[in-house]
């Protein structure tokens, strides 16, 4: 379950990064549809956080420790929304670039999460 979610979040994050990177290439700021995309990715990350904590509560142990695992889950949840808020204040291509960078950061966090869980 957790592995499937990790893959789903990674793919969604990379898609968002490509989409916002494309907007930046075309010199466009983030638009309503981009924000809906960010909301979808963030919702997936939230589900992942809930499932991850549920797994911990059921007594399963991540390879590299629960504290690190939960920190990464929280980081994964915050990465895209934070970049999204920044892009609200910067209505240029650089706002889109920042969201794309945030999505890449999320994808990297997912890879690390996978290692930490030991899947």
């Amino acid at each position: 379950m957790l592995v499937a979610l990790t893959v789903a979040v990674s793919v969604a994050a990379l898609a968002l990064a490509a989409w916002c990177g494309f907007a930046a290439l075309r010199d466009q700021p983030t638009k309503d549809w981009h924000f809906i995309g960010m909301a979808v990715v963030s919702a997936l990350a939230l589900v992942q956080l809930v499932i991850g904590i549920t797994q911990l509560a059921r007594g399963e142990k991540p390879d590299q420790g629960s504290v690190i695992f939960v920190s990464y889950l929280i980081g994964a949840l915050l990465a895209v929304p934070m970049a999204g808020f920044l892009s609200l204040a910067e209505r240029t291509r650089w706002g889109s670039t920042t969201v794309a960078a945030g999505a890449v950061v999320l994808a990297v966090l997912e890879v690390r999460l996978h290692d930490i869980w030991g899947g």
Binding site: D27, Q28, P29, K31, D32, V67, I68, S71, G75, A79, M82, A83, L86, S87, A89, E90, R91, T92, W94, G95, T97, T98, A101, G102, V105, V108
Partner: protein
Amino acid sequence: MDETATGTKTEPTGGEAGDGGTRAGRLVRGPGLLLVWLYGVMSVGAVSRSVYQIATEFEHAPLAYALSAVAALVYAFITYTLVRGGETARKAALLCCAAELVGVLTVGTWTLAEPSAFPDATVWSDYGMGYLFIPVLLPVTGILWLRKARR
């Protein structure tokens, strides 16, 4: 939608060069936003990582963890100066970016030359390879942007 896109595309610094308003010293605009985001991410990552490592397993690799803590402080300080803005902050950030670059290159070379001194990786090990080389790219872009933002 296209109207808003073209309407906001005007150069944010265009009309303000003469009035010397507070916006003139803003460093978080255009490419600066991406920079502050990446520095913010590195700060959060490096600070939480070194707090955890120093609190739980400092004896395992004291040198590596101490260096990571220094890196974390540098990142946090640069993030703060970038957000704060203004000429003094710009100069301070420029200085820190230079120090950061020196740090990355020194620690990077050190870890390659004498791996035995580092039982565990630092943020700056192997020129920041574990962090997609962002640690070595960030100060270079930072210095370029901060020089460009001078007025």
